[in-house]
Assembly symmetry: C2
Homo-oligomer: 230 residues x 2
Amino acid sequence: MTSPTPARRSRRTDALSAAAIIDAAIAVLDAEGEEALTFRALSIALETGPGAIYHHLASKQEILAAAAQRLVVHALADVPTDLDAEGGIRAVMLAFFDLFDAHPWVGTQLSREPWQAALLEMFEAIGAHLDALGVDERYQFTAASSLLNFVLGVAGQHASATRLARDLDRSTFLRDIAEGWKDEATAASHPFSRRMADQLAEHDDRQQYSDGIDFVLAGIAAVAVEGGLR
Amino acid sequence: MTSPTPARRSRRTDALSAAAIIDAAIAVLDAEGEEALTFRALSIALETGPGAIYHHLASKQEILAAAAQRLVVHALADVPTDLDAEGGIRAVMLAFFDLFDAHPWVGTQLSREPWQAALLEMFEAIGAHLDALGVDERYQFTAASSLLNFVLGVAGQHASATRLARDLDRSTFLRDIAEGWKDEATAASHPFSRRMADQLAEHDDRQQYSDGIDFVLAGIAAVAVEGGLR
DNA sequence: TCGCTTTTGGAACAACGTTCCAATAACGAG
DNA sequence: CTCGTTATTGGAACGTTGTTCCAAAAGCGA
């Protein structure tokens, strides 16, 4: 098998490169999920061995971080630029949600390494609108961080929910959780959650995310625009 | 070695149990960090083998989830109950931060499994105050979720930062990141982050978290209390 | 005292990320 | 063109992980 073909041109027709490895990694992650990205799977996809991969990238972390950054940059490139300040922030934030919805593994990756490259891109994209929004300069760092932290929380939950509900249906998965909240013993000690159980089962993730942004933006407007309290 | 001592009373003086295993797991996690919790480390700490552990708990996930839930419940038990609605929510949210600061691995765990037991406790503790805060019933689910997502984002970042800065000092770690933001090429394409670099290096995590809560609470008050817009 | 069930702990397994290395292609200097 | 040097390749091997399996031991009801 795999006859040597002694003296053709190149060992590979397509040269291996960091970019090619990241391409393959994204393809595997999107097609089969986070836990499917192994050096063995990558080796098969690229028709090579782990040694060759390690010659271009230092670790699995580096592959994941680079893959996440590429998708973040790509998603941000598609955001329209002719919007007012608030519309611009909303568009950026929704672009993040759609990215995490299409590539849930990115949500996991962003919590693996602090202030990695992808996070800088997100931080910048959010912060770029704060001046135009009229946010007092002293509040801009906190405002951008708050929006970023909110996105990251959603991204993490969305990723783990998708991971678990990979075979299972999302709605039946949520219905099961909601049923648990309606269990007598649980409901007795968790009355608020009991009241919310039906909404949990029926809610729209994207709408809820958008409503959450409304809260944070309204809060920033109330506290940090035109000199809020202290 | 380990002479059999043929016929004493019990095989172990302290009976193995789920609670004892979780105790040991928390001790290992707090003392040596997330990646130190292995079945081998647990076996040594409990003076047993992996088989005995699996007889009481089904998987490593289950151990981590139970450990996280215990700490969340414990942290919530210490929150004073004689506060007004807003003070109550603030106290709960700050209790979460202090928990994630003392036990960073909890922040990672909460993103591993969706709607796990610990999250229900957090969701309930937040939501319990929303009626008293005057939040319209239609907004309570979204309001509680938004606060929860914000906490989870902070927890995840805090956990990964602590993990990376385990040997390294936190302030020098942040200073290094900030220096990267001041790099000429980076600064040119990321002017907002460039302006924020010094604040990144000097900011207080807990204060920033508290300010973020101010934003979200102000936004909830503006949008969802006494019938906000739409 | 005996039979059955629970509990124990260690051996064994497959899979993972990573390291190492011998073989090969590419390339610059002569 | 030729040759020594470097870059690149891919597979074998390593140590560690979570998990499974099983035989021995302890506890317990009849």
